[in-house]
């Protein structure tokens, strides 16, 4: 900690839930349709229309809240959050105010690079609300037209609010990555930041000590961050900006109103935004058009049972049961449930956890990346990988040629046997091997002398020659035999 201050960060994440229809009407939530083609009288707030809750959205929200270790109250209600904006056709957003569907949860984070200690980040609440539409401001060529697209209006959003428990921009980024991973395991959102399925606002200020007094700088809310990297950069910038501002003005928390600043990705700075929220009073009103939702203990338990293994549990399990290194367990789990399932299918067959982990985290991942495929799309089943690993274990092919075999099996869609055959790989029996080694010893007196003089590594030259003569020899065996023969000279 070289900074003369503690950075205090809380995040507010809006997650679009992966429902086919909107939160309070039957319109499609598909991204990218022609503007205003996915609307109906309900979501555009025409007179007399009424919202009806999409149970599926509520279930997905509940699933997420339970996975975030939140308390689920027995009843939750809906409130009208009132403000005027052209992309908010009812003049209010249906949200949850004082009785959110969940509260008081947490998410554990740890840093594989060890930049910070593992930490439990509190979740203040997660509540369900409807999204607003999109305003498109077109100020080209002196025009000042604003256009409204209401396709997004009414899309279900889960707002997840963390405690201000995060202490660095890097930890904030890890929190977001872990949250996104959790959401993808739960299959509740596609988490596509480009399409706005996951949006992050951050609140940040600094705690510092001056003249023996502990004090805090005014809280700033940062918006308009379009990637996790942007979140980290914006927070890093904002922390140093706040420190400079404090040095210049001495302004503390409470001496200035909460400010909203926007992240300018290109310039790499935050800029003050004219915020409609600073002075606004949302005049929350319990929505009389919707009835409160009751959630029974049984329902919560049932969902909890159905969550499946989540990232944190899975990592622990891979470390404790499969004896993987934390780093490898992390790489596997962070790739998503499908890859972990693949890995486990391989292990079930070949019983070689560490070797399987190496293959999956290295060769398989590399292929996925190069071919831009998901594990389900890769034409290389877990069974085939298990077969390859099994053959290696049984010494059916030398480890040196395993990658060639893998490449052929995958590239030319060959079976293991076909690939081995195509590469002319055959087992070299011991007598042939000994004969080969003897030949090498005989023709390399210098190497033999070096070995006898104590330079065992000189034997490496013989291994290379042996592989040239017969690519199927096992380098380990060649080494052992050559050393033995050299000793006898």
């Amino acid at each position: 900690m070289s900074d003369p201050y503690t950075t205090v960060i809380g995040l507010e994440v809006h997650v679009q839930l992966a429902t086919r229809s909107k939160l309070f009407c039957g319109c499609s939530t598909q991204f990218g349709a022609e503007p205003n083609t996915q609307t109906c009288p309900v979501c555009i707030g025409m007179p007399g229309t009424l919202p009806v809750l999409n149970r599926r959205a509520y279930e997905l929200a509940l699933k997420t809240a339970i996975a975030l270790n939140c308390n689920i109250p027995e009843t939750t209600k809906w409130d009208c959050k009132q403000y005027y904006y052209p992309d908010l056709p009812k003049g209010y957003q249906i949200s949850q105010y004082d009785l959110p569907m969940s509260a008081d949860g947490f998410l554990d984070i740890s840093d594989p690079q060890g930049q910070f200690e593992p930490q439990r980040i509190g979740i203040i609440r997660a509540h369900l609300e409807e999204d607003a539409g999109k305003s498109i401001h077109d100020e080209v060529a002196g025009r000042a037209d604003s256009e409204i697209d209401l396709n997004r209006t009414g899309t279900p959003l889960l707002e997840i609010v963390s405690q201000p428990d995060l202490r660095s921009p890097a930890a904030s980024r890890v929190f977001l990555q872990e949250l996104k991973l959790l959401l993808s395991y739960l299959e509740v959102s596609d988490c596509n930041m480009q399409e706005g399925s996951l949006r992050v606002d951050a609140n940040i200020n600094l705690h510092l000590e001056a003249d023996g007094q502990r004090l805090a700088t005014p809280i700033v809310e940062i918006k308009n961050m379009n990637s996790f990297r942007a979140v980290q950069r914006a927070l890093e910038y904002e922390a140093s900006r706040q420190y400079r501002a404090w040095q210049e003005t001495g302004q503390q928390l409470g001496q200035a109103p909460k400010q909203t600043r926007g992240w300018d990705e290109a310039a790499g700075i935050t800029r003050p935004q004219r915020s409609k929220e600073e002075s606004s009073d949302y005049r929350y009103l319990p929505d009389p058009d919707l009835v409160p939702v009751a959630t029974s203990r049984e329902q919560v338990e049932q969902i909890r049972q159905s969550l499946g293994e989540l990232p944190a549990t899975l990592r622990t399990r891979l470390i404790e049961e499969d004896h993987l290194k934390p780093y490898d367990a992390g790489v596997l789990v962070n790739q998503g449930r499908a890859l972990v399932d693949y890995y486990r299918a391989v292990v079930t067959k070949c019983k070689q956890a560490k070797i399987a982990a190496n293959w999956v985290t290295q060769d398989i991942l590399r292929e996925l990346k190069e071919r831009d495929l998901t594990i389900a799309q890769l034409p290389f089943s877990a069974d085939r990988l298990a077969e390859l690993i099994g053959a290696l274990q049984q010494g059916l092919l030398p480890s040196t040629r395993a990658h060639e075999v893998f490449a052929l099996m995958l590239g030319d869609n060959l079976t293991l046997t076909e690939a081995i055959g195509r590469l002319d790989i055959e087992q070299v029996d011991d007598s042939a091997l000994i004969a080969l080694c003897q030949e090498l010893i005989d023709s390399n007196p210098k190497v033999v002398a070096d070995v006898q003089g104590g330079k065992q590594q000189a034997i490496g030259a013989l291994i290379g020659q042996a592989r040239k003569k017969n690519p199927n020899v096992d380098p380990g065996r060649v080494r052992t035999i050559c050393l033995e023969l050299a000793g006898k000279c």
């Binding site: 009288p41 555009i44 707030g45 025409m46 007179p47 007399g48 229309t49 009424l50 919202p51 009806v52 809750l53 009208c80 009132q82 005027y84 052209p86 056709p89 009812k90 003049g91 209010y92 409204i148 009073d281 005049r283 929350y284 009103l285 009389p288 058009d289 919707l290 009835v291």
Partner: protein, 511 residues
């Protein structure tokens, strides 16, 4: 006997036995509307041609032996607050003068499915806010019994058209008495069902937790017929009750034996006109003569009902009416004028070096909101939006809104306790008979007190009915209000029908 004077029940029999055609009935009513509507102002829109075409279609289908709906060929007037995709839905507001909903309210859809003939759209107080129909942006509606007087409101047109034989059946909405009060003042039957009994989908919201559509008719039997047609669960309204609808018109003949009738002590206090009091007391005696036992009961929190109502209803209204902002539909101010106005204001401030003025100048969006709403809404609507906005503001919410919700619960508990002792509660609908037009327009508080006896039923979600029970010395109708426990519409209608059978008040018609 003129067709226009017949009840829906009578017309239904004539239509079903082929003694009269829907075109004949509809034409007779359209003729009556043409001759009387100019002076009464009950209807805002009547599409004579379309209406006759639909009537002719029903007649054709009847002749072809098609299976027809329960209201086949019967004309029904609809308050201009229930969306109908076949025409305008204005809510008697400049704001929605040009609005054409692309959907039917569930009530309207059910009427169409029942093969009713939607004959026209009735006048009302703007957005159903008011008790005299004087808040309509378009026209005054007059009481058919005395044209210098109000028909009541907000469903003034709905009540006047039935009283004046322009429609046998009429649908209104009741948020604090808006069906029952005009029914009382016009001498017709008006009923507010249990909250949730009738779908609110497509009913342009005033106060969502109180609004409920219901029938206005000349007889209780017709009210039963209309109610059973429009009532029932609607998946598009989350607050609608998922319960079967009894056949009210079938059971209505059965009198209530051993009826326990409650009289509310608090109803007979200061403010109640002595003529109204005496008519109501006589009505109670009629029930006694029919074998009912009369019990005095107390609703101790009823004195807070009007105050509670005028916190809750405007709060919901301020939220419901936020959508009328000139952006997506409805009235929008002239933007060229607006831009010119802003330019000139900016120049004035600049010339005067008024930095503060410049800083506070609206941007064009905000000015568009302000102007559109200022032009589109009338004074009473603005008053209620302001009241609601104030009540919901930070720092006031607990003291007003939350307190009002608590009192609302107490009011409901009073009724729950009362209905353990009695089957129905009887009392006045209004403190006085119909007042003069213009008499209270400058005294909104006095106007609010007109709701004294009716708002409790909305706050408690109870069914309640108003039916004629006498006339004042000036010849103005006086209404009797009956209230029942939630979902006891059947009992309410049977109790009202008993009284109607024993009296002749409902047979009197204005000249």
């Amino acid at each position: 006997m003129s067709l226009t004077k017949l009840s829906a029940h009578e017309l239904k029999q004539l239509l079903e036995t082929g003694q009269v055609s829907s075109v004949e009935v509809t034409q007779a009513l359209l003729d009556r509307i043409r001759s009387a509507n100019d002076s009464l102002g009950a209807f805002l829109h009547v599409d004579a041609e379309g209406t006759l075409a639909r009537a002719a279609d029903i007649d054709r289908r009847r002749q072809a032996g098609d299976l027809l709906g329960p209201l086949a060929g019967l004309p029904v007037a609809v308050k201009d607050v229930l969306c109908d995709q076949d025409g305008p839905t204005t809510c008697a507001s400049q704001m929605l003068e040009s609005f054409r909903p692309p959907y039917d309210a569930t009530v309207v859809a059910r009427l169409k499915e029942a093969d009713a003939i939607l004959i026209g759209r009735t006048n009302m107080d703007e957005f159903a806010m008011g008790g005299s129909t004087e808040n309509s942006a378009f026209q005054v509606t007059r009481n058919p019994w005395d044209r210098s007087r109000t028909p009541g409101g907000s469903s003034g047109g709905a009540a006047a058209c039935v009283a004046a034989d322009m429609a046998p059946l009429s649908v209104g909405t009741d948020t604090g008495g808006s069906i029952r009060q005009p029914a009382g003042l016009c001498g017709v039957v008006g009923m507010k069902p249990t909250y949730g009994r009738v779908s609110r989908y497509g009913l342009v919201a005033f106060a969502s937790s109180l609004d409920q559509a219901g029938p206005l008719t000349r007889t209780t039997r017709d009210a039963a017929l209309l109610l059973e047609t429009i009532a029932g669960h609607d998946p598009r309204d989350a607050t609608s009750l998922d319960l079967p609808v009894p056949s009210y018109s079938r059971s209505i003949e059965q009198p209530l034996h051993g009826l326990r009738l409650g009289i509310v002590r608090e109803h007979f206090a200061a403010g109640l006109d002595e003529q109204v009091e005496s008519a109501v007391r006589q009505a109670v005696e009629v029930y006694r003569s029919l074998g009912a036992t009369i019990q005095e009961i107390s609703l101790p929190h009823s004195k807070y009902a009007v105050a509670t109502y005028y916190v809750i209803a405007p709060s919901e209204a301020s939220s419901n009416l936020a959508r009328y902002d000139g952006v997506h539909y409805g009235h929008r101010t002239d933007e060229t004028k607006l831009q010119a106005e802003l330019r000139s204001e900016r120049q004035q401030y600049q010339a005067a070096g008024n930095q503060r003025g410049l800083g506070q100048l609206d941007n064009s969006l905000v000015r568009m909101y302000r102007r559109s709403r200022a032009e589109g809404f009338g004074p009473e609507v603005k008053r209620r939006i302001m009241l609601g906005t104030y009540v919901l503001s930070a720092g006031y919410y607990d003291a007003y809104y939350l307190k009002a919700l608590k009192v609302r619960r107490l009011i409901r508990q009073d009724f729950d306790a009362a209905f353990e002792k009695v089957d129905l509660i009887a009392g006045p609908v209004t403190p006085t008979a119909a007042f003069k037009l213009g008499e209270m327009v400058d005294d909104p508080l006095a106007m609010y007190l007109v709701d004294l006896y009716t708002v409790s039923a909305n706050l408690a979600g109870l069914p309640s009915i108003s039916l004629p029970c006498g006339f004042s010395r000036e010849g103005l109708p006086i209404g009797l209000q009956l209230q029942a426990a939630p979902l006891q519409e059947e009992r309410l209608l049977r109790g009202a029908h008993m009284f109607e059978q024993a009296t002749e008040w409902h047979t009197r018609r204005p000249d």
